[in-house]
């Protein structure tokens, strides 16, 4: 079999070997999510936003005005593309990102302290509530940051920066015994 992007995860090299049991602060690396970028055509931003928020099968993350990242844990990339094409029906451009981004899920009591070492955003629940999402800079890497729970954050990074971001996050979390593994 040819080893190419489609059968090799960007962090295979980093997470080789027997996984350590997850600690209190844990970094889970996403495996096989379907992701797509939705870009609303001019003038259709509000309509597309309403359409996206009306569906519960996938998570919608704000990226920029008229631009969202859609993530599905269950669907295939092709299935998500079809689903979004049908939903937006010409109001938006859909771009598959499943192989282009890597999902990092950071959970545990010290996540905010860990992220504070790299992200210049106020992550207090008053300023950045659960469900909030935005593009931000983590160290020198532009990521899409989402708060999915009180102490759970997800970072979506371009695949070519995944190894760098992984090393950065592990350094940021060393003081808090951050462990890492592929998500189950």
């Amino acid at each position: 079999m040819i080893r190419d992007h489609y059968n090799r995860h960007a962090l295979d090299e980093k997470l080789r070997g027997a996984p350590r049991p997850p600690g209190a602060n844990h970094l889970a690396i996403g495996h096989r999510q379907a992701m797509a970028m939705v870009l609303a055509t001019a003038g259709e931003e509000d309509a597309v936003e309403r359409l996206l928020s009306s569906v519960t099968e996938f998570a919608v993350r704000f990226s920029a005005p008229g631009e969202w990242l859609v993530i599905s844990e269950n669907d295939t990339p092709e299935g998500l593309q079809r689903c979004l094409d049908a939903l937006c029906s010409g109001r938006a451009h859909i771009l598959d990102q499943s192989e282009a981004r890597v999902l990092f899920r950071l959970s545990g009591p010290s996540t905010r302290r860990i992220l504070a070492k790299g992200i210049g955003l106020d992550l207090h629940p008053i300023a950045f509530a659960a469900g909030a999402s935005a593009n931000a800079l983590c160290g020198h890497i532009a990521v899409n940051l989402v708060r999915t729970g009180e102490d759970v954050f997800e970072l979506l990074a371009p695949r070519s920066f995944a190894e760098s971001l992984f090393d950065d996050l592990m350094t940021m979390g060393r003081e808090y015994d951050l462990t890492a593994a592929f998500a189950a």
């Binding site: 920029a64 210049g120 106020d122 935005a134 931000a136 800079l137 532009a142």
Partner: protein, 92 residues
């Protein structure tokens, strides 16, 4: 320099997320304008002490062009508006 910029789309962000793309107060001359007018537009820049109007691009965030009015002396940021909104307001 101002260290926090309130992006109208993303909220309060550190200046490292932005790139400054130059003076926003310049108005592009008509294509038939004189060579002097075009020379001024392309090359001649003021270096003001006080309020300036600049294009900032939020490259690590929403990637929109913003118009930031800030003070080069006190480092105070007076206003941040989206570039497209600024252009329509000013009839450009």
């Amino acid at each position: 320099m101002a260290s926090l910029i309130t992006c109208p789309h993303c909220g309060v962000r550190p200046k490292e997320e932005f790139t400054i793309r130059g003076d926003a107060s310049l108005v592009r001359p008509a294509p038939t304008a004189s060579d002097e007018a075009w020379h001024d537009y392309v090359y001649v820049r003021a270096n003001p002490r006080g309020r300036t109007l600049e294009h900032w691009q939020h490259v690590a965030g929403c990637r929109r062009f913003l118009v930031v009015e800030r003070d080069t002396f006190t480092h105070e940021v007076h206003s941040v508006t989206d570039g497209a909104a600024f252009a329509t307001e000013n009839g450009r």
